[in-house]
Every structure is written in structure tokens, then in C-alpha cells.
């Protein structure tokens, strides 16, 4: 009798009743057959206890349903494996949209804090109340280093100066020495404006209305103090002067940048994506120029990172995974530029952001070249690092990129 065959039949649940008794009798006496029976059961048990291994992955299911144009089923009778073998990463630091929301939120907070804490709001002086206006005039410093630029670049200020001098002149009709003085000043200022000459004498003349004002009584000034205070504040506010000085350079405002990059992974990638995403290694950034040196921006970038990480698979085996998936990374950046006013400016930039698997930090240094007023060309070396977590272990994927791009001022 072929007991191996009978054992197979037993294993199939198809053993003939007349063979059942003889099989068990043989099993009790035959050590070899018992061993085979145990092995048979061990294999069957192993297969049954690992049946989950054969569950279709979510990625496969999604791929099938999307190919057929069918909505993904909400629930499946089996428990799909979270990730397929191509991308076994299960841990995600952030949700799909959580990262973008967090980045935006962080950006808003930082910009707001900078605006209120470091950079006072332009045109607003909290000290200028009814009393403070005149006090401000009294305390106005006499040496105004940037006034020369104001005269040259802003005609509206020239006109306002003439008007204010005229107002003061009306107030001082009965004050002959001062009247003459104001007339002289007005004439000279007009002449200066027409000739666009700016030397030390002009600065003195522009300061002279303030001197006149200082000689007025409080009563004489009461009707026009607000106007005087306004122009006084306008002339002496360093922020306003600075703004008008550099306005023609458009260093303030919004800059839109489009960048591409050539990338070298560290270590060199040994695997490539099945298909690179569109606009791979391309980034789009919007920068807000906080000052001529500092700018703050947000960027979105399509890129890949070569990931090498270790993990234990569903079968308890240690594996080293390598993959180079496509990522869309959102980040916030701070840029520091040197050589204000120059066409070629070195810059340094730090960025922090993230994508669906982890945190992305970058540091870049390079130069910008402005061939035209509203356009800037960028060239830089950038170091990138993706930090991510898998099975409670932290891994890093660094790379170096040669960045080149173009920026438009708005």
C-alpha cells in the first residue's frame, strides 16, 4: 500500500474510509511516515498562517480600478497590504495634504511675525498723536543723510515741499526776516529741482523749512501742524526714505522664480523610477523681498530622492530597500543677498519643507545676475537632504544639485 499517496489523500480530505484506519496504524509504527506527516502539516500551517501575504496591495487595486475608470471600493473583504513591493514605505510623517497646509501655516506665522516685530509697518508711526506730532517735530534730527536721494528721485516730494513752505510763508506774513528766508528757500529749491543738482547746499536748503518751523510759535503752527507733521514725518522717516531710494531697483515686492537643476545623488543612484514625473527637477518659487538683503519665499518642486533604507518585511526578514520615487516637495526659504545695487549678487539660501514621506532641508549658495531691470538669472549649488522614517528608524537621502533659473520681479 502506498502510504504516501494515502497521506496525500488524507491531506486533501479525500481519504477513503477503508484506508483511514490503516494509515493511523502505520503512522503509529512508522517513524518516517510520521515525520513526513508532520512536515506536511507544517507546510500547510505555514501557508495558511501567512495567507495575508497574498492580499492584493492597495496600489494594485487602485491601479486596476483607475485603469477601468471605476471608483475605488470603500471596503474590501481582504485586508490589502498597505504598500506594494515597489514602495514598501508605510510610515509617513505627514498626510497627503497636511504638509502643504502646515507649510502655509508656518509661512503665514513667520511672515506676520517679521512684519510686526522686526519690520514696522510703513507710513504708520504710533507716536504721532496730537501731542506727539509737534513733539516729533521738536525732536526731529537735523542731519538727514538720505535726503539727497529723496530730492532727486521723487518729484511729488518736491511739490509737497514747495506747498509746505508756502503754507509756512502764509503764516509768517508779519514776520519779515523769516518771510524773506522762506522766499529764498522756495526759489532755491525750485531751481535745484529744475536743474536736478544735489550737493551739500541743497541738503541744507531742504532742511531749512524744518528750521523755520522750529522758530514758529506753537499757536502759529496749530492750524497746520498736521500738514507740517506729515511732510516732516515723510522727510525724516528712515524707512520711507529708504523705500524711495531703492524703489527704482524694485528690491521690494514679489519675485517669481522658475528653476531647474541637475542632480547627483549621494550615494549614486542604482535604481531609477519607472517613469519620471513631468517637470522633474523643476521648481517654482515665489519670494517676497523683506528688505534688499533678505527675502522669504515658498517653493514647490518636482523631484526624486534616491532612498536606501533597511526594514523587516511581513515575513520577518531583514531587507535593504532601494527606491527612487517621484516626490512633490513644498518648502519655505529664506535668502540672503549681498552687494545691494549690483547686477551680480552672491546669495545664500536655506529652505525647509517636506513631501509625503518626510522632511526636506536644503542649503544653497550661488550668484544672481540681473541683465535687465525686471529679470534675474540664477546659478547655484544646492545641497538637499530628505529625512524620513521607516519602522521607527530615521534615514537620510542627500543629494547635490546644480541650480539654474530665471526670476521675474513684480
Amino acid at each position: 500500500m502506498d502510504y504516501n499517496q494515502i497521506l496525500n489523500d488524507f491531506s486533501n480530505g479525500e481519504i477513503a474510509p477503508e484506508n483511514e484506519e490503516s494509515l493511523f496504524l502505520e503512522l503509529s509504527a512508522n517513524e518516517e511516515l510520521r515525520g513526513k506527516f508532520r512536515q506536511l502539516l507544517a507546510i500547510k500551517n505555514s501557508v495558511m498562517s501567512n495567507s495575508r501575504y497574498f492580499d492584493p496591495s492597495i496600489a494594485s487595486t487602485a491601479s486596476i480600478f483607475s485603469t477601468l475608470g471605476i471608483g475605488m471600493p470603500v471596503s474590501l473583504p481582504f485586508n490589502p497590504i498597505q504598500a506594494n513591493s515597489k514602495s514598501p514605505m508605510k510610515s509617513r510623517l505627514f498626510g497627503k495634504y497636511g504638509l502643504a497646509v502646515m507649510s502655509s501655516l508656518a509661512t503665514a506665522i513667520i511672515v506676520t511675525a517679521l512684519n510686526f516685530a522686526i519690520f514696522p509697518r510703513q507710513g504708520y508711526n504710533p507716536n504721532l498723536n496730537e501731542k506727539g506730532i509737534l513733539q516729533s517735530m521738536e525732536n526731529t534730527p537735523r542731519d538727514i543723510p538720505e535726503q539727497k536721494s529723496v530730492i532727486k528721485n521723487d518729484n511729488s516730494i518736491n511739490k509737497t515741499n514747495e506747498a509746505v513752505v508756502g503754507i509756512v510763508n502764509e503764516e509768517l506774513k508779519n514776520n519779515a526776516p523769516l518771510k524773506n528766508m522762506v522766499h529764498i528757500q522756495t526759489g532755491q529749491i525750485k531751481e535745484e529741482f529744475s536743474n536736478e543738482v544735489a550737493d551739500a547746499k541743497e541738503i541744507e536748503l531742504l532742511k531749512s523749512p524744518v528750521n523755520v518751523s522750529n522758530k514758529l510759535t506753537m499757536e502759529q503752527l496749530s492750524n497746520h501742524r498736521s500738514e507740517i507733521a506729515q511732510i516732516n514725518n515723510y522727510q525724516h522717516s528712515p524707512e520711507i526714505i529708504s523705500k524711495n531710494t531703492v524703489a527704482s531697483d524694485k528690491s521690494f515686492g514679489i519675485t517669481l522664480e522658475v528653476r531647474n537643476q541637475t542632480v547627483w545623488n549621494l550615494p549614486a543612484a542604482t535604481i531609477a523610477p519607472d517613469e519620471y514625473a513631468k517637470f522633474n527637477n523643476t521648481g517654482l518659487a515665489v519670494f517676497y523681498n523683506l528688505s534688499e538683503k533678505f527675502s522669504f519665499g515658498l517653493d514647490i518642486r518636482q523631484e526624486t530622492f534616491f532612498q536606501v533604507y533597511k526594514g523587516v518585511d511581513d515575513l520577518g526578514l531583514n531587507n535593504i530597500y532601494q527606491q527612487q520615487p517621484n516626490f512633490r516637495t513644498y518648502s519655505a526659504s529664506v535668502r540672503f543677498q549681498l552687494n545691494e545695487g549690483s547686477t551680480i549678487r552672491p546669495f545664500g539660501q536655506l529652505s525647509i519643507g517636506g513631501n509625503v514621506v518626510g522632511l526636506v532641508t536644503r542649503a544653497m549658495t550661488g550668484i544672481s545676475y540681473s541683465p535687465y531691470k525686471d529679470i534675474k538669472l540664477l546659478l547655484g549649488i544646492e545641497f538637499h537632504n530628505l529625512t524620513y522614517q521607516y519602522q521607527k528608524q530615521i534615514f537620510n537621502s542627500p543629494k547635490i544639485g546644480l541650480n539654474y533659473g530665471i526670476a521675474f520681479y513684480y
Binding site: 504516501n4 499517496q5 496525500n8 491531506s11 486533501n12 515525520g35 513526513k36 508532520r38 512536515q39 506536511l40 507544517a42 507546510i43 500547510k44 500551517n45 505555514s46 501557508v47 498562517s49 501567512n50 495567507s51 501575504y53 497574498f54 492580499d55 492584493p56 496591495s57 496600489a59 494594485s60 487595486t61 491601479s63 486596476i64 480600478f65 485603469t67 477601468l68 471605476i70 471608483g71 471600493p73 474590501l76 473583504p77 481582504f78 506594494n84 513591493s85 515597489k86 511581513d314 515575513l315 520577518g316 526578514l317
Partner: protein, 186 residues
């Protein structure tokens, strides 16, 4: 409306001939019923997990596109298995991946302290050492738990041939795994 779970395979097939929403719902139910088994078959037949996934996906896409106008499929599960099988055969023809059993052994650097997961890994590895026809029979019987009659239909062989193949495959698997399982069973 009757729950989809209560539909027979034939009922679902007829439903797939209707409007798109109904067809999609019917397909989803069919997928729920057969996805795991087809996936098991693909993974068992093809060692490369990525390729197996591709064939698994292609099987259901082909099935969806092929049932149009078909109101009677006989054995619906058998039809899907046949699609998967044909795709696997095409894959083998392309790749020439058949590995003869004789003279091969499992090369493993695992320690002898096996656990169930390690044994399972060895089982999967051993499958690659079987001839295609035995591997297929073993998968359909031992992993997918199909009756012999269905195995015979899918493989296009007689019932007795199906039984014979399964037994032969099982014996070969036992031979391959014996040195490892013996220790485990002590």
C-alpha cells in the same frame, strides 16, 4: 435592491452587461471574490513580485474588457484564472524563466531557528524550483485551495492528471523542504 454578495457569479456576469454603474458594481464584487486567489496564483507563479503584480492587474483589466457581450461564462473563476494563466505563460515565453528542479537546492543563509515566517519564505522560494506545471498545480491546490475539478478545467487537463500533478508537486516540495522542515518539526 438585492445585496451584491448574494449574487451568483452568473448573476454578476449578467449584471456586467447592463449600465456602467451596474457593471462597475458587479465587477467590484467579482474582484472582491477573486482578487486574493488570483494574486496568490500570480505571486506563486512568478517569482518577481513586481512582475506578478503587473500580471495580476492586467488579468482583471483584461477580464473586464473581455466580458462585454458574454452572458454565460460557465465558471467565472475559471475564466479569470485562465486569463491569469495565459498571461503568466506569455510572461514565461518572454522571460524563459523555467528552472529545472533536478540538481537545484535552496541556498539559504538563515539560521536553523526557523519560525513560521521563514518557513513560508522557503516555501515560496521552493515554488520557483518546480516545473511550471507542477508549480501551477501546487499553487491552485495548496495556496488557492481549489477543487481538483476546477484545477483540471483551468489547466486544461483531466481530473486524474490534475490529482497526479498536485501529488507530484507536493512530493517535490516535500523533498526540497525536507532538510529544513525536519528541524522545524523536531
Amino acid at each position: 435592491m438585492q445585496k451584491l454578495e448574494t449574487y451568483t457569479d452568473q448573476g454578476l456576469l449578467e449584471m456586467m452587461q447592463g449600465s456602467k454603474p451596474k457593471a462597475d458594481a458587479a465587477f467590484t464584487e467579482i474582484y472582491n471574490r477573486y482578487a486574493r486567489r488570483i494574486n496568490t496564483y500570480c505571486i506563486g507563479m512568478i517569482a518577481d513580485r513586481d512582475d506578478a503584480q503587473d500580471i495580476f492587474q492586467e488579468t482583471f483589466v483584461k477580464f473586464y474588457n473581455s466580458v462585454s457581450g458574454r452572458t454565460h461564462a460557465g465558471n467565472l473563476g475559471g475564466l479569470i484564472y485562465t486569463i491569469a494563466r495565459n498571461l503568466c505563460m506569455n510572461y514565461f515565453n518572454r522571460k524563459h524563466m523555467t528552472v529545472p528542479f533536478d540538481g537545484h537546492d535552496i541556498i539559504s543563509d538563515y539560521s536553523r531557528d526557523y519560525d513560521k515566517n521563514e518557513l513560508f519564505k522557503l516555501i515560496l522560494t521552493s515554488l520557483d524550483l518546480l516545473d511550471d506545471k507542477y508549480r501551477e498545480a501546487y499553487i491552485l491546490r495548496e495556496l488557492d485551495c481549489l477543487p481538483y475539478q476546477e484545477i483540471a478545467e483551468i489547466c486544461g487537463i483531466t481530473l486524474s492528471n490534475a490529482k497526479s500533478r498536485v501529488d507530484r508537486a507536493r512530493d517535490k516540495m516535500m523533498s526540497i523542504l525536507e532538510p529544513y522542515v525536519k528541524d522545524l518539526c523536531k
